[in-house]
């Protein structure tokens, strides 16, 4: 047991910091202690596109990948240092994650050579992707999806509806999960298709979040024709692809969530001083509780990373997802509470930081729902980590 990462990692850190000092655009500089995209009018502004391309060209987009995929063949520990430094500064890699975080690894693992050729643009952000997974009747029960694809010669005909599809309004391409065998058990009749979003028969209707942003959508498919060559992996084997992700980053992505908690706590301390309640014993204790939970969570993340770096599979992912999302929501709520009557105020002049606490509280609901709700995370912990029997 020891605290440091070792000397070979420190030169990596120095190189990264020098790069960030020189290239990080001004929009990434202000301390972003709040949930993302509260202020940006555009879903993916030009500066963010340029920044993603710069990261790719310098091998800092996905450090664990080779240079042609926007990386530098970094080790797991170096990748951890990368995520630490980026998140400590609140610098986002990209404002849209599906392309680099989900599509790229899925295509690299399961795609044809032709499909793999799409990966560099997905990581660099030159092509924006969305993921067609959730449906009105397939949320937590994702494998119950009903969007149908029927093979007809050299093409699939797709009919159905997706919902909560992030970035659908700006995406060029979609990784679409469809049912190709309705008679098979539900996990075994699913396939994945690459769909161009400008194909006739696709109707995209923006959905507005409770915070007023519209970066996700409902997507309707009516007799949409998709070339058979766009099938990723084997027919009816698509469920396996949903389990894939950035394997070499998965063990470190929690750092971003924990760093956001820590930045939010710093924001709460400042807020308590500005609102004149920094000496209130209840406020003090509750801020300290938040700090304790974030700090103990960071330690748990490092513990899981240790197992990962040594080659064992770590169950910590569900713990981290559950705890950081729930804690984030609680901290934003505390930020509103500290302001008393002004907690819900969002007008620019009278509201504290233009209502960012209230709006961030609203955004934070997404974190306890998306990517597996807190209840699903508890099921996973109970059944896969603690070995309890599946519920009937």
């Amino acid at each position: 047991m020891h605290l440091d990462w070792g000397p070979e990692v420190e030169s990596f850190r120095v190189e990264l910091i020098a790069f960030l000092d020189e290239y990080a655009p001004p929009q990434t500089r202000p301390r972003r202690d709040f949930a993302m995209s509260v202020h940006d009018a555009e879903i993916i502004p030009q500066w963010a596109r340029d920044w993603q391309a710069t990261l790719f060209d310098h091998g800092w987009m996905i450090p664990g990948y080779p240079p042609e995929l926007g990386g530098r063949n970094a080790s797991p520990v170096q990748t951890m240092v990368y995520l630490e430094e980026m998140s400590a500064r609140g610098i986002p890699r990209a404002l849209h994650f599906p392309g680099y975080a989900i599509v790229a690894p899925s295509l690299l693992d399961f795609g044809t050579e032709e499909q793999k050729a799409l990966v560099p643009a997905a990581i660099r952000g030159d092509a924006i992707w969305c993921i067609g997974m959730s449906e009105p009747n397939a949320g937590s029960d994702l494998a119950g999806l009903q969007t149908r694809a029927v093979l007809d010669g050299d093409r699939f005909i797709v009919n159905g509806q997706k919902v909560w599809t992030s970035y659908a309004t700006v995406a060029e391409k979609c990784c679409l999960y469809v049912r190709t065998d309705p008679t098979a058990p539900k996990h075994k009749g699913i396939s994945m298709l690459i769909v161009d979003m400008d194909t006739p028969g696709i109707d995209i209707r923006p959905l507005t979040h409770i915070n007023g942003n519209a970066d996700f959508a409902e997507v309707f498919f009516t007799d949409v024709e998709v070339p058979a060559a766009n099938l990723v992996g084997a027919l009816n084997d698509g469920w396996r692809i949903t389990q894939g992700s950035l394997a070499h980053e998965r063990a470190g992505l929690w750092v971003e969530g924990v760093a956001r908690l820590e930045q939010t706590i710093t924001g709460l301390v400042d807020l308590a001083h500005r609102r004149g309640v920094a000496n209130d014993p209840i406020v003090r204790r509750r801020i300290a509780e938040g700090y304790q939970r974030a700090a103990s969570l960071r330690a748990l993340g490092y513990k899981g990373f240790t197992s990962f770096a040594q080659g064992s599979s770590a169950p910590e992912h569900s713990y981290m997802k559950l705890a950081s999302s729930e804690q984030g929501k609680a901290l934003y709520e505390l930020g509103m509470e500290i302001q008393g009557a002004y907690g819900p105020v969002v007008d620019e002049e009278r509201g504290e930081e233009a209502g960012r606490w209230a709006l961030s509280f609203f955004v934070s609901f997404a974190n306890t729902i998306a990517g597996g709700t807190s209840e699903i995370q508890r099921n996973i912990i109970a059944q896969r980590v603690l070995g309890l029997p599946r519920s009937g």
Partner: protein
């Protein structure tokens, strides 16, 4: 950052676990409740481990975690985590006898308020194991350390029958052992606090393990109660708290061993996280056991007692959060 144990640490853990599984069953805790001398043979087995008290804190925590797992009713915490480091800090040559396992001791510091900080009161409170050790090191307001043999001690009756606490009258003749500086005393207490937090994590994990086993075994409505989500989600939350507390404890131990700048905060985080984990494991553990968990006959209450006893010693969860707030705000 590396959270994996060395081979030596694994050896300490495995040796302690095996020894304690044999020598410290729940029946011993019950016998100790009626007669505290019942645990003497166990203490003779464990005194070999006392030198851990002045070695790397991570190693000490490994052992304390195992003691917490069985709620061992021995003066190890008093002797190894409090008494030995105080003797070491004042350069007292009697330390050798303690490390050899020939002498045991404890520390008397808190006054009537129960808080472990220097004070001028001569009647000390919450002194662990004062009646079952050889010497009590009484610490005065100026840090003067006096070693007392069999000072007048009165047992404080608490819900925790596995750890004995005493009021001790220290205005009696003793041997002066020099003066401990405030910084040295704070360092001893920081280490002891993390060690106690490690013990609490061991107790919390025992409560969690017992409850998981019960939830898999107990049939109601024709199925194991562990298949119900209401039960699963409680167990998931208990396990999350235990995992993060374990991690916070070893992070704090590493921070102290490395003299890292984060160590003061980490100590409060560790004890508070351990308190949250132990309290939740005890409360929800009993709830999931239902009526049987509420009986004296079942062993669960022995660990509930230990958990809440340790929670109150060296600062409650709330007290540590308040000290943390003083560092943050």
């Amino acid at each position: 950052m590396n959270f994996s144990f060395s081979d030596d640490q694994l050896l300490v853990r495995d040796t302690a676990r095996q020894l304690l599984a044999d020598q410290c069953p729940p029946s011993l805790l019950r016998a100790h409740t009626d007669d505290i001398t019942a645990a003497r043979p166990l203490w003779e087995h464990l005194s070999d481990f006392v030198p851990l008290g002045i070695g790397p804190l991570v190693d000490l925590c490994v052992f304390m975690e195992e003691l917490g797992r069985v709620a061992a009713p021995v003066p190890f915490f008093a002797t190894a985590c409090l008494y030995a480091p105080v003797l070491e800090a004042v350069g007292e040559h009697d330390l050798d006898a303690v490390l050899d396992g020939h002498a045991s001791g404890t520390v008397a510091l808190a006054g009537a308020d129960g808080v472990w900080h220097p004070n001028a009161e001569t009647r000390k409170t919450f002194v662990p194991d004062a009646a079952s050790v050889d010497l009590v090191a009484a610490i005065a307001a100026d840090g003067a350390v006096t070693l007392l043999a069999s000072p007048p001690a009165q047992r404080i009756e608490t819900i925790d029958t596995t750890r004995c606490l005493y009021d001790v009258e220290t205005a009696v003749p003793g041997t002066s052992a020099g003066t401990i500086s405030r910084a040295a005393l704070d360092a001893v207490l920081a280490r002891a606090t993390v060690a106690l937090a490690a013990e609490m994590v061991g107790t919390a994990r025992r409560l969690l393990d017992m409850t998981i086993a019960y939830a898999k075994d107990r049939i109601q409505f024709d199925v194991p109660i562990g298949s119900f989500q209401a039960v699963q989600h409680k167990l998931a939350d208990m396990s999350l708290d235990v995992e993060r507390a374990w991690s916070a404890v070893y992070y704090a131990a590493m921070a102290i061993d490395a003299e890292d700048d984060d160590r003061d905060r980490a100590v409060h985080v560790a004890k508070a996280a351990a308190g949250e984990a132990a309290k939740r494991a005890a409360k929800d553990g009993i709830q999931i056991h239902g009526g049987v968990g509420f009986t004296m006959e079942h062993d669960l209450h022995l660990f509930l007692r230990r958990a809440f006893g340790a929670e109150a010693l060296l600062g409650t969860t709330g007290w540590h959060h308040d000290r943390l707030a003083d560092l943050l705000i």
